[in-house]
């Protein structure tokens, strides 16, 4: 029993490492997704050109940009699987679907985390956000917990949309309503961390609790539900 658990962990790590190696070799995140996210932040500034507004809504914009970029990253994560029938080959090899889920989710989380750091940095530079030390710590915790939730739920629904060949348009419809709690929770927590609109750091922690519930729930559910959703 424990040997299969070790085997699954090995597969999950192999899948995560494989996805990150693909990103390292192709640099899609660095060369395409990150510039896209940055330009979205600049466009927000054009659309909301008003003194003080940007600073106040910066947390929401960071997370909106994250969600939009995440859609692109998820599509990419499953395009590499279907381009040459690799997911089929994994399936024929009898590789455990739950382990594949964990591996792909971890790789997605790492990429999202890098992206979010970049977006927060952009907000600090472009929108004039100022953080205290406590606020900075809270921001990091928020990023980590929100990313775990987004990565797991994104992999779950990404797999479903990828199984439905040629229906990539389905992903936003399925995914965006589900991640509403993350958008709400992460935005409020980040507001507290940024001190936007006079909020204090301590107001953020309950929201991080909400993010934590979401993350734990979808990590557990995703491991079970991924196989039936993706398999034929």
């Amino acid at each position: 029993m424990s040997s299969t658990a070790i085997k699954k962990r090995g597969i999950a790590i192999a899948v995560a490492r494989k996805d990150l190696t693909i990103e390292w070799n192709s640099r899609i995140l660095v060369n395409q997704v990150a510039p896209f996210a940055a330009i979205v932040m600049v466009l927000f500034a054009f659309a909301l050109d008003n003194d003080g507004i940007l600073q106040r809504v910066a947390p929401g914009l960071v997370w909106l940009a994250t969600l939009f970029s995440m859609l692109v990253v998820i599509q990419r994560s499953f395009t590499v699987e279907s381009a040459d029938g690799a997911l089929d080959a994994l399936r024929v090899a009898g590789v455990d679907m739950g382990a594949i889920f964990v591996g792909k989710a971890i790789a997605l989380m790492v990429q999202l985390f890098v992206l979010e750091l970049l977006l927060v940095a952009t907000a600090v530079v472009l929108y004039g956000v100022e953080m205290t030390m406590a606020g900075f710590c809270e921001a990091i915790v928020t990023l980590v917990v929100a990313t775990v939730g987004l990565g797991s739920v994104g992999t779950l629904y990404g797999g479903l949309a990828a199984g439905a060949r040629g229906r990539e348009t389905l992903l936003p419809l399925l995914l965006l309503p589900v991640v509403a709690p993350v958008l709400i929770g992460a935005t409020r927590a980040t507001e507290a961390a940024f001190g936007s609109g006079g909020t204090t750091v301590s107001e953020g922690w309950p929201w991080i609790g909400l993010l934590l519930v979401f993350a734990v729930l979808f990590c557990a559910v995703g491991t079970v539900a991924f196989g039936p959703l993706v398999d034929e």
């Binding site: 519930v213 729930l217 039936p228």
Partner: protein, 244 residues
């Protein structure tokens, strides 16, 4: 072969007649006999369809979840459960749409605006979109079993996700709005006939839902049987092709 017209049986026909009579009664009670509300005037009458339709939608989505769970847990995995789940999902989406439309009409008359970012409204909108997605997944194609497996897993995910969305939206509003917009029921002092009308509406809509689900489920069964028949013909054609 017995003559079969449509998807009805004598039982559903009787149920249908009962539903029509009750809806007519609801219209009379709601629009004519019951009194205007002291505060809201005639706008209170929207409540008689607004409340029953959201009630029905909750029943429908609950049924979708239960049928999906039974489908997944059952040994023989009967497709009938999947069809019931799908039928209930479709009708649930319809009733959420009705309650959103009637709700915003009521809001326009009472609050002067079609939409407010009230927690209940917002999470109902999410409920609507979630099940529109569920219906989209049902349409993805593949075999009946593929459809059943995908959509039942998704229905169970939706049931997990809805409380979380509702909870977070409620938390979101409570923080930013001191006086939350009260729900319609709280403001209304219901007299006997108004209460009766509301109750009649709940019963009538529930029975209407049962009637619709039975018919839709049978229609889906016929659709599945039709495509199975098409498959039989295609198999025969392929065999003949091979023999020729």
């Amino acid at each position: 072969m017995a003559r079969q017209s449509g998807t009805g049986t004598s039982a559903t026909r009787r149920l249908g007649i009962l539903v029509i009579l009750m809806l007519a009664g609801l219209a009379l009670c709601g629009l004519w006999f019951s009194a205007e509300d002291v505060v809201q005037g005639s706008t209170v009458r929207i409540m008689y369809i607004h409340v029953p339709s959201i009630w029905t939608a909750y029943i429908a989505f609950g049924l979708t979840a239960v049928c999906s769970a039974v489908y997944l847990s059952g040994k023989n995995r009967s497709l009938a459960w999947d069809r019931f789940a799908g039928a209930a999902g479709e009708i649930g989406v319809l009733f959420v749409a009705v309650s959103l439309v009637t709700g915003s009409m009521w809001g326009r008359l009472t609050w002067g605006t079609y939409w407010v970012w009230d927690a209940r409204l917002t999470s109902t909108a999410f409920l609507f979109i979630t099940y529109v997605g569920y219906l989209a997944v049902r349409q993805l194609g593949g075999t009946h079993r593929q459809r059943a497996r995908r959509s039942s897993v998704l229905a169970l995910l939706a049931i997990l996700e809805i409380p979380l969305v509702h909870f977070s939206v409620t938390l979101w509003r409570s923080l930013h709005q001191e006086a939350s917009v009260a729900n319609p029921n709280a403001k209304v002092a219901l007299d006997g006939l108004m209460l009766f009308s509301l109750f009649l509406g709940l019963v009538a809509f529930t029975l209407l839902f049962v009637w619709l689900v039975l018919h839709r489920q049978r229609a889906m069964m016929l659709e599945d049987a039709f495509s199975d028949r098409g498959l039989d013909l295609a198999i025969t054609a392929r065999r003949n092709e091979a023999g020729a």
